[in-house]
Every structure is written in C-alpha cells, then in structure tokens.
C-alpha cells in the first residue's frame, strides 16, 4: 500500500468511526477541526504502530511533511516574484510544528483554540508557536521596511 492509500484509509476510518459513534458525538464540536484532528490522530497511530513493527527507534512525533508553494499566477512582476520567493523559503524553513500551526490557522481557518486542540497543545503554547513563526518571517523578510523605502523614493 502506498502512503497515499494509507492516508485515504485513515480518512475512511475516521468516517467509519463517526458513523459507529454517531450517537455519542459531542454536538457542539466544530466539524472541520474535529475531522482534521481525527485524521491526524489516525495517521499518528498508524505511524506509531508501523514504527513498533518495523522496530525503528526514532518515534518522534508525527512530522508535518509538506512545503508551502507559490501562487505563481498572481505574480505580475519580477520584484514581487523575488520577494515572494524569499518569503516562501523562509516559511518552509520554519519547524514542522510551526508550519502545521500556520496551515491549520490560516489555510483551514481554525481558531487558535481549535489549532491547540488539533496539535494537542494548550492555548498559550499554540499562540506562542504561531506568534514566533510570524515573528521569524518578519525578521527574515522585513517587507514593511522595504515598502516604506520604495514609497518614499521619488518615483
């Protein structure tokens, strides 16, 4: 089974579980956060089990393996392209956990609370995680300052 198939399996299992426990589910749950969190737990469990069976020592928590890409079609000029590329590099240099938090917060539109839930962290840690990620990006890529300079130059 390929990795993709196994992930699909996990997703299907989540829905099976939802069906099986449909009368016991908390009605107040946020569907998107619940699904993301369930799939994530499923994959983590599978990952953990495979580590046990393959006897690999490193059972570090699940890695969030994906890179942010660039929305090329929205880039009109070379200056923008350069800036975006640099920013994209910085983002992909963030830790897996920070990337995952950013993904959940800004792509899936979860609240900090929900992100905390999915990542199994408390609210404050999640907030710090996100804040530090943004802070680092700003340090790596002080766009504002650049913009200010550009704006003040006689053009």
């Amino acid at each position: 089974m390929t990795g993709e198939d196994r992930v699909k399996d996990c997703v299907q299992d989540v829905f099976v579980d939802i069906w099986t426990y449909r009368y016991k589910l908390n009605e107040a749950m946020v569907v998107k956060a619940y699904l993301l969190s369930s799939v994530r737990k499923r994959i983590a469990r599978l990952h953990h089990r495979e580590h046990i069976f393959s006897n690999i020592k490193n059972t570090d928590s699940l890695e969030f393996l994906f890179d942010f890409s660039i929305e090329d079609r929205l880039i009109a000029d070379e200056t923008t392209a350069k800036k975006v590329e640099q920013l994209n590099k910085s983002i992909n240099k963030l830790s897996d956990r920070q990337k995952e938090a950013i993904y959940l917060r800004y792509h899936q539109g979860l609240t900090v609370d929900q992100v905390a839930d999915v990542l199994n962290l408390n609210y404050q840690s999640t907030k710090n995680l996100l804040h530090r990620a943004i802070l680092q990006l700003r340090r790596d890529f002080p766009i504002s300052a650049l913009f200010l300079l550009l704006n003040f130059s006689p053009n």
Partner: protein, 366 residues
C-alpha cells in the same frame, strides 16, 4: 470575527477568509479593493499580506466527483463490515476496554508472581532440603521417645533434643564453621569458640552464635519458628535461600526471643520471654533452673543437672559427701559443666559420658 477596520497586523489579514479569496482572485463581495485604497497605511499592510498569501500557497489536488463517490463507497463498505463484527470489534475499539484488559493482565501476572512466591514450595524450607544440601556426611539423631534426649557434639556442645525432633550434624566439625540442622525442638548449649561460629539451620531461619545457650523450636508443621535465648548473644536471620527474602536479622540477648512467622516471612522480636505466654510455656526446667551455685553440696549440683538435662549421673556418694562448690555453670554446655565440676573436685576426678548416662569417677575433694 474582528472588524477589518481594526486590522493592524499581517496575521489579521491572513486569517480572514474573504480576504484570502479576494487575493486569490476569486470574488470580492466585501469589496476589499475599494477598502484597501481608503487609507495609505492600510494599503501597505494589504500589499504585504497579499505577498504572504501568495508565498504560502498550499497545493490542493482537486477531487473529481468520481473520486469522492469511490471514497464514499469504501467508507460505507467498511461500515457494513464493522457492523457485522460490531459486538466484538466495538469492545476492542474502546480505550477503556483496552485499559481494563491491560490492567487485568498486569494484575494477573503480578498475582501469579506473588502467589508463586508465597506458595509453600518456594518459601518454606524443609529439614530434608537443608540436610540434602549439606555435602558433609551427617549423622542424624531422631528422638522418637517421650523424653528429651541429650546429644553431645564433637566440639563439646550439647543439645537437648525434644521428642519428635531430629538433629543432623557432622561427626566432626571441620573448617571454620559449625553447622547443624534441626527439625523440631532443641535446647542448645554451644561451647565457646570465637573462631568458629555455630549455626543452627531450622526451617527458614539460621541462628548464629559463638558460644551461648538457647532453645530453637522449629517443627515442620507449625506456623512459626522460635528462638529463645538463655545466655549470651544470638543472631537469628532468615535463610538466604528463600526467594525474595529480605535478609532480616535479629540480635537477641538473654531472655529475648525471635519468632519467625513463616507465612509472612517476618521476624517478630520478643524482648521479654516471661511476657509472652506461648513462649513461656515452651521453656521448661532447663530455662527455669539456675546453674549458679554458691557453696552447694556436689550431689545437689548433680541432681540439678539430672533435672535439667534429664540424664542419670552416677557418682560415688560417699566420697563426695563433704564436697561443696561455688561456681557458675549457666553459660556452658553440659560436658563443660561436668569438666568444671571434676576439675574443682580434684585432679583425679573425671567423667564418662554415654548418651544419657554419665559416670563420675572421683576419689573425693581432697
């Protein structure tokens, strides 16, 4: 959601779904383009946020309707399967069940382990096992009579073996240890030898002395092993061969006793034998008699010894009529007692010992 007019950080824009949509060029129902140009500071922030969104795209492979249908089918199939096996699978899927099962298994294992430990074959040590483990050739004395039996060992120690008791000992003690094995009850008087410790192995206990008198009660079918000290210092410990034995030691002084509760593998120290009824009952004439003599006629001393050791002493009454002795014989075994008496009587006095029968040969105390 926060009012967009108060947005002052990139993050505010990043988390705004409609803003993202507008950046990505889909639609703009909230009219972000107009809102942006209302304020130059805002325009800068918006431009920056726009770059961020462009730079952190997440690839999404759009799903075809067919793929969705296929996935849904698979899910329903799985649900069907899990419904069939529900009674069994459902219970296995519960964390509480797994936890309970784990606790049960661990508990069972622990129980079996300890049950095994406390089962008789592992924690009780029998006289037979002890004797078998001693590689020296041992002599075994069994007292099947109804009277105590006196045993004299090669080191001049004496043991008064009670009825229904057995003692195994080497004909001659060799090496720097003196080891004997007891089943039942015996009163030990050990000759002093600081270089050779004397050990009494009795059930699960080991009594170590250098030269004292004490009683050991260790019947195979009784729940306790008891060691009562008459004179000197005695160290009682549990036999190291007991598995899980917390090597316990009890130091005893005269009139103290140790009771080893076999089931619990624990020692109980009794500081005053006279305060403990079962122990007091176990003591007999031996402990009650005084072997401290002050200007006492020798025939009376012999009578005391006869009473204590349940022996017969044959002595020339006429010749010893006028002999009086002052001596303390409480801390020495019987042969030593007889020796001391004979030496006090005079150079020509000696004794012969044959089991419970002792013959004194003397020409009087002059």
């Amino acid at each position: 959601m926060q009012n967009r007019n108060s947005y002052n950080k990139i993050e505010d824009f990043l988390s705004d779904e409609s803003f993202q949509k507008w950046v990505k060029g889909n639609d703009d129902p909230l009219n972000w383009s107009e809102w942006t140009v209302e304020n130059p500071y805002r325009a800068k922030l918006v431009e920056e946020a726009r770059l961020w969104i462009i730079g952190m795209k997440v690839e999404q492979t759009p799903l075809t309707n067919q793929e969705t249908q296929k996935a849904l089918q698979k899910v329903w199939k799985k649900i069907g399967r899990s419904n069939e096996e529900l009674p069994f699978r459902a219970i296995w899927h519960h964390t509480w069940f797994r936890t309970a099962a784990a606790v049960f298994v661990v508990g069972l294992a622990t129980f079996l382990y300890y049950a095994n430990l406390s089962s008789p074959q592992n924690t009780t040590i029998t006289y037979q096992e002890l004797v078998k483990s001693d590689l020296n050739g041992l002599i075994e004395q069994t007292n099947n009579s109804d009277k105590p039996q006196l045993i004299t060992l090669s080191d001049a120690s004496s043991v008064l073996l009670q009825p229904n008791s057995k003692l195994s000992y080497p004909k001659i003690f060799t090496g720097n240890e003196r080891k004997v094995y007891l089943s039942g009850e015996g009163f030990f008087e050990i000759s002093k030898d600081p270089n050779r410790a004397f050990y009494v192995y009795a059930n699960e206990t080991v009594t170590k002395v250098y030269g004292t008198s004490f009683r050991v009660i260790a019947y195979a079918n009784q729940p306790n092993v008891e060691v009562l000290v008459r004179t000197g210092k005695v160290k009682v410990s549990s036999n190291q061969n007991i598995r899980n034995a917390t090597l316990e030691e009890v130091m005893l002084l005269p009139n103290q006793a140790a009771r080893f509760v076999r089931k619990e593998q624990l020692f109980e120290k009794i500081l005053d034998i006279t305060q403990d009824k079962p122990l007091l009952a176990a003591t007999n004439t031996m402990e009650q008699l005084s072997f401290d003599f002050k200007d006492i006629p020798v025939h009376q001393i012999f009578k005391t010894l006869e009473q204590g050791y349940l022996i017969t002493i044959d002595f020339p009454e006429d010749k010893l009529k006028e002999c009086y002795l002052t001596t303390s014989l409480s801390d020495v075994p019987l042969p030593e007692k007889l020796k001391i008496i004979c030496e006090s009587l005079g150079s020509n006095s000696r004794y012969e010992m044959n089991g419970n029968y002792i013959k004194i040969i003397s020409n009087g105390c002059k």
